[in-house]
Subunit: 87 residues, 2 copies
DNA sequence: ATTAATTTGTTCGTATGTATC
DNA sequence: TGATACATACGAACAAATTAA
């Protein structure tokens, strides 16, 4: 039995589940940030990188990032990258 | 002779019987879920798919699903699909 | 100074779900 | 029954800015 919640972020996208892929990716990235994969004001992987890593379309990846921005988890610098928000 | 109850769910809709088609479909789907065709939190076939598979109108299919929701067998996620309920 | 590579920004088209009328 | 709306996902193309060679 896993030690995370029923719909918690795993590391794989589930297309047949009730949670949309873009929300799954957002949860995954948020979890990785909390876990400390990237520190505050450090860049998370680029959009093409996330596309490759999770097998999603870029438009979907961008939707995830938009969600994370709205939640104050990350911020985007145009033509530069997406960075972990923080104190 | 079949090994299910007298009016139990078959895999075909009987239009001449006493049970309404939408209740038949609901029973069929419930049986398929019990049988393990789809696990908990997995999507069941889409409405258009069920329309095609069972030769029913979409409104009828939706009525079946509503019944299954009321019975706690499945739950619907708007703009996403219908999923098997489960602990 | 040029060029190429990288990264986000934008738009279009197609497909599939459910929701609604 | 049929049509339309809304949300989502994929794919592709191009623009704009930055950075590195």
């Amino acid at each position: 039995m896993a030690h995370h919640s029923e719909f918690g972020p795993d590391d794989e996208i589930d297309y047949d589940g009730p949670v949309t892929p873009y929300r799954q990716l957002a949860a995954i990235l948020a979890a990785r940030i909390r876990r400390g994969d990237w520190a505050a004001h450090r860049a998370i992987p680029s959009e093409p990188r996330l596309v490759q890593e999770y097998g999603l379309a870029r438009s979907t990846v961008r939707r995830s990032i938009r969600l994370l921005v709205e939640d104050g988890v990350v911020y985007v610098v145009p033509q530069r990258g997406t960075f972990v928000a923080g104190g």
